[in-house]
C-alpha cells in the first residue's frame, strides 16, 4: 500500500525517489494515468535523472507520500522511458489545461490533481481549481494560510470531483465537464451531496465544513444516513446544532436517530428548546411509519377566522414552514376539523369564514400507519400532502409528497461513475 490517505500531484512532482539502498535515483517528472474502476488511477511514475527518463510501475513503488517516495527496484533494474503521445500523463496532459463545461464555456484551469489511496492504488479523485491549488504550486499555500488566519479568514477548498469529468485522453486541448458552469459555481445542495458522498470522508468533511449553514442543512438532508452521521460527527457540536436547527424537524430527526446516542444528546443540548422538542417528539416514532416520515411543523388555524385574516397570518407564519400545500383547521382542542388548500384559500371571498369553505371529508393517517400505506393513499387520491392524526383526532404532523417520493424511490447515490 504505497499511498495512504490523500495528497496532491504537485506535492510529489520533482521530489527525489529513493532506491532500497537509500540512494536518490531520480526525481518525479510525471505519472501515467490509466482507466480504473471506479476512478482513474496511476499506473506508473515517470522519473527524470539528468536528461534521462525512466519508468517505475506502480507495483514497484514502495512508498508514495509527500515526505518520501521510494521503490523496490535498484538503479540498474529500471526501464528507460520515452515521452509519447499515447500515454496519458497527469502533469503534462491535465495540469494547467483549460476546463470547459458541457456547453464548451470556459470555467477555470486545472491547478492541481488530488490523489487518494484506494485498495492499494493511487486514484485521481478530483481536480483542484481553487486558489489553494495555485498557492500550493507556487509553494506558498502554508504561508498564505497563516497570513490569512491572522485576519481570521480561510482559503476555501475548491475541488471538482472526477465524477464530473468526461473521459480524458492525451493531446486533448481541454478537459470537459459533464455539467454546465452554473452547476459548478452554484451547485444545488443535492449535487453537493452527490460530491460529498463520492469523495473521501476527510475531503467531504472539508467541503461540508466550508458550506454556509443553510446550504449545509439542505445538502445534509440529501445525504445517505451513514454519510450524514459521518459529516455531523466531523464538525463541532455547536455548528452541527446550527445546521440541524436549520433543517425541517423530520429530516433533523432522521439525522439524529442515526447518530450515537451521546452525540445526538450533545447536539440536542445546543439546539433551541422549542426546536429540540419538535425533533424529540418525532424521534419517538418508528422510522418506516407515518410518524417517522411526518413533519410536525404545519400551519393550523381556528375555524372562525376570515379568509383575509388567514392570509395575513399565513404571510407571517409560512416563512418558517416548508413546503406548505394545505392549511389545517383545528378546533379549540387541537382536533383536526378540516383542511384547505392554498388555492382554495386564495380564490375564496375575503370575508368568508374558514369553517364555511374548508373541506371536511378528511383523509388522514395515524402515526403508526406503514409508510407504504401512506404512499398508496397519496397516490390513490392524488394528494400532495396528508395530515397525520392521533387516536384522539389531534393533528400531530403532515406528510408531503416529496417525503413519499424519497420512500418509493430510494436515493442510493449509485449513479454510474464516469471512467477515465
Amino acid at each position: 500500500m504505497p499511498l495512504f490517505g490523500e495528497l496532491f500531484l504537485s506535492e510529489v512532482l520533482k521530489k527525489p525517489v529513493f532506491d532500497p539502498k537509500g540512494e536518490i535515483i531520480g526525481r518525479v517528472r510525471d505519472a501515467i494515468v490509466v482507466k480504473g474502476d471506479p476512478l482513474p488511477k496511476i499506473a506508473a511514475i515517470v522519473l527524470q535523472h539528468r536528461k534521462q527518463l525512466s519508468l517505475i510501475g506502480w507495483e514497484q513503488v514502495n512508498l508514495f507520500s509527500k515526505r518520501v517516495i521510494s521503490t523496490f527496484l535498484n538503479e540498474g533494474e529500471i526501464p528507460s522511458y520515452e515521452l509519447n503521445d499515447t500515454d496519458l500523463l497527469a502533469a503534462r496532459d491535465i495540469l494547467d489545461k483549460q476546463i470547459v463545461d458541457v456547453n464548451g464555456v470556459k470555467i477555470v484551469r486545472a491547478n492541481d490533481i488530488k490523489l487518494e489511496g484506494y485498495e492499494g492504488d493511487a486514484v485521481l479523485v478530483a481536480i483542484d481549481v481553487g486558489m489553494r491549488g495555485i498557492l500550493r504550486r507556487l509553494g506558498i499555500e502554508r504561508g498564505s494560510e497563516g497570513l490569512l488566519k491572522t485576519f481570521n479568514s480561510d482559503i476555501p477548498y475548491n475541488l471538482i470531483s472526477w465524477t464530473y469529468m468526461q473521459p480524458l485522453s492525451p493531446q486533448l486541448g481541454s478537459i470537459t465537464l459533464t455539467v454546465s458552469r452554473q452547476m459548478v459555481s452554484d451547485l444545488h445542495p443535492a449535487d453537493l451531496a452527490d460530491i460529498i458522498s463520492q469523495v473521501s470522508q476527510k475531503e467531504g468533511a472539508a467541503l461540508f465544513e466550508n458550506l454556509d449553514i443553510e446550504t449545509a442543512a439542505e445538502a445534509l438532508s440529501e445525504l445517505e444516513p451513514d454519510k450524514q452521521a459521518e459529516m455531523i460527527e466531523s464538525i463541532e457540536p455547536e455548528k452541527a446544532a446550527d445546521i440541524i436547527e436549520e433543517m425541517n424537524p423530520d429530516d433533523a430527526a432522521d439525522v439524529l436517530s442515526d447518530l450515537p446516542t451521546e452525540v445526538a444528546k450533545e447536539i440536542l443540548e445546543h439546539i433551541e428548546k422549542e426546536d429540540a422538542e419538535d425533533i424529540q417528539e418525532l424521534l419517538h416514532h418508528e422510522e418506516d411509519t407515518a410518524g417517522g416520515l411526518m413533519n410536525n411543523l404545519f400551519l393550523a388555524y381556528p375555524p372562525d377566522i376570515t379568509v383575509r385574516e388567514a392570509i395575513e397570518r399565513f404571510r407571517k407564519d409560512a416563512e418558517e414552514v416548508d413546503p406548505v400545500y394545505y392549511l389545517f383547521v383545528v378546533d379549540a382542542l387541537e382536533k383536526l376539523v378540516g383542511v384547505l388548500s392554498l388555492r382554495e384559500l386564495i380564490l375564496a371571498d375575503s370575508d368568508a369564514l374558514l369553517a364555511d369553505i374548508m373541506e371536511t371529508k378528511l383523509r388522514t393517517v395515524a402515526p403508526e400507519t406503514d409508510e407504504m400505506v401512506v404512499a398508496e393513499l397519496i397516490s390513490k387520491y392524488d394528494l400532495v400532502a396528508i395530515p397525520v392524526v392521533d387516536n384522539e383526532g389531534v393533528c400531530v404532523g403532515v406528510i408531503t409528497v416529496d417525503d413519499i417520493i424519497d420512500v418509493i424511490m430510494p436515493r442510493e447515490g449509485k449513479r454510474k461513475r464516469r471512467k477515465v
Binding site: 464555456v105 470555467i107 484551469r109
Partner: protein, 411 residues
C-alpha cells in the same frame, strides 16, 4: 481586377487587430516620448524609427501568427507550456504595469481635456463610463469598428507635421543616416523609444484579439499584411510627431516634459490649429489606450486562469473578464482625480515593471512560436529565427538599459 477587389474586400474583414494594436501603441506615454524627443533633440533621433519599426513588425508578426494558428491567447499558451509559476508572477507584474499605463492614459485624457477647456472632473468620469459601455455592452465587431475609425484621428499628427513646414531634405537625411551622440539624455531617450514602442501588453492584446476574431489559417497572409501596415502607420505617426516638435519647439529651446505641454507650447508658435490638432489627437490616443490596456489585462488574466473571456460576452457570461476591466478603469479614473496622487511615481513604476517583464515575454514568445507541437508547420524558419532572436536580444538589452536609466536618472 475582380480578383484584386475580392482580395481587398477580404483584407478589410481580416484587418483590425494589427492596425489597432500598433496604432494604440502610440498612447499617452508614446506620444509624450516622441514629443520630448523632438523638442529636446530635434531631428537627431529620427533615424531610430526605422530599426524600431522593423523590430516591432518582427515581434508583432510572431504573436499574430500564434493567434491565427492556435486560436488561443498568449497567456493561454504561457500557462499551458510554462506552468502556473511563470504565468502567475508574470501576470502579477503586468497587472501593476498595466494599471500604471491606464492611469497614464487617463492623465493624458484629463490634460488634453483641460487644454480644450473642459474640467477633468467632468470629462474623466464621462470618458470612463463611455469606454466601459463600449466594451461591456458592445460586441467585438462594434469595438473594432469604433477603434479603427478612432485610429484615423492619428492622421491629425501627419497634418500638423506638414503644417510645420519642415526642411524635408534635412528630414530625409536625418531619417536614414544614424547620428549617435554619446550624451546621457540622448541615449536614455533612444532607449525610451524602444521602451514605449514595444510593450508587453501589445503582445497579449494582439494575440487575444486575433483569437477572439477567429481568423483562419488560410487568411494568415492578410493578417501579416495587417501587422505590417499597422506597424508602419504607427511609426509614420511617430515620425510626424517628432518632426513637428523638432521643427517648431526645438529651435526655441522649449524643453517639454509631457505631450500636453507640447500642445500648449505649439499655440503661440504654430497658431491655434496645430495646438488644437495636437490636443484632440492626444485625447483620442489617451482614451484608446485607456480601452485597450485594461482590455489586454482582462484578456490575459482570464486566459491564464481559464476563465471565460471576450468582448462579445456579456457580464453574466464572463463575469471575471468584465469585472477586471471595470475595476481597472474605475480605479485608474479615480486615481487621476485624487488631488496629489503620486501619478508620476506610478507611471515610472509602471515603465520599470514593463521593461523588466518584456524580455521574459519575448523569450516565452520565441520559444512558443518554435514549438512544433503548438505551431505545426508554422514555426519560424531558420533565417527568420536568427532575425527574431537578434531582435529579441537587442530589444531586451535596450529595455533593461531603459529600466536602469529610469531607476538611476542622470540629472
Amino acid at each position: 481586377m475582380s480578383a484584386f477587389w475580392k482580395k481587398a474586400m477580404l483584407f478589410l474583414t481580416v484587418m483590425g487587430p494589427g492596425i489597432i494594436t500598433a496604432n494604440i501603441d502610440n498612447d499617452a506615454s508614446g506620444i509624450t516620448t516622441y514629443s520630448v524627443v523632438g523638442a529636446r533633440h530635434g531631428l537627431s533621433l529620427l533615424w531610430t524609427l526605422i530599426p524600431t519599426t522593423i523590430a516591432l513588425i518582427v515581434v508583432q508578426e510572431m504573436v499574430a501568427r500564434m493567434g491565427v494558428v492556435t486560436g488561443k491567447g498568449l497567456a493561454d499558451l504561457i500557462r499551458e507550456e510554462f506552468g502556473v509559476k511563470a504565468a502567475f508572477y508574470m501576470l502579477l507584474g503586468l497587472f501593476i504595469a498595466n494599471f500604471g499605463n491606464t492611469v497614464a492614459n487617463f492623465a493624458g485624457w484629463a490634460a488634453s481635456m483641460q487644454i480644450l477647456g473642459f474640467s477633468k472632473y467632468v470629462m474623466v468620469p464621462i470618458g470612463a463610463i463611455a469606454i466601459w459601455i463600449l466594451v461591456v455592452k458592445g460586441s467585438y465587431r462594434i469595438l473594432e469598428n469604433v477603434l479603427l475609425v478612432a485610429c484615423l484621428i492619428f492622421v491629425g499628427y501627419i497634418i500638423s507635421g506638414f503644417m510645420a513646414k519642415p526642411d524635408w531634405a534635412e528630414v530625409g537625411k536625418r531619417l536614414i543616416i544614424p547620428d549617435i551622440q554619446w550624451d546621457a539624455e540622448y541615449l536614455i531617450l533612444s532607449v525610451g523609444i524602444i521602451g514605449t514602442t514595444i510593450t508587453p501588453w501589445m503582445q497579449f492584446y494582439m494575440q487575444s484579439s486575433i483569437a477572439e476574431k477567429g481568423i483562419k489559417k488560410e487568411d494568415y497572409r492578410l493578417t501579416r499584411l495587417d501587422v505590417i501596415v499597422g506597424c508602419s502607420i504607427t511609426d509614420i505617426v511617430s515620425f510626424f510627431i517628432i518632426v513637428t516638435c523638432a521643427t517648431l519647439l526645438y529651435p526655441h529651446g522649449i524643453r517639454v516634459e509631457e505631450a500636453a505641454e507640447a500642445a500648449v507650447a505649439l499655440q503661440p508658435l504654430a497658431g491655434g490649429h496645430a495646438a488644437l490638432i495636437f490636443s484632440i489627437a492626444l485625447a483620442n490616443a489617451s482614451i484608446l489606450g485607456a480601452i485597450i490596456v485594461p482590455l489586454a489585462t482582462a484578456y490575459y488574466i482570464c486566459e491564464a486562469m481559464g476563465w471565460e473571456a471576450g468582448v462579445n460576452k456579456s457580464f453574466r457570461e464572463a463575469p471575471q473578464f468584465m469585472g477586471i476591466y471595470t475595476f481597472i478603469i474605475g480605479l485608474a479614473a479615480a486615481v487621476v482625480l485624487i488631488p496629489g496622487a503620486p501619478l508620476v511615481d506610478l507611471m515610472v513604476l509602471s515603465a520599470i515593471v514593463n521593461g523588466l517583464m518584456l524580455p521574459f515575454v519575448l523569450v516565452f514568445m520565441i520559444k512558443l512560436v518554435n514549438n512544433k507541437k503548438i505551431m505545426g508547420e508554422y514555426t519560424n524558419s531558420r533565417t527568420y529565427n536568427y532575425i527574431s532572436w537578434i531582435t529579441v536580444i537587442a530589444v531586451a538589452v535596450l529595455t533593461v538599459l531603459f529600466v536602469f536609466a529610469t531607476v538611476f536618472p542622470i540629472a
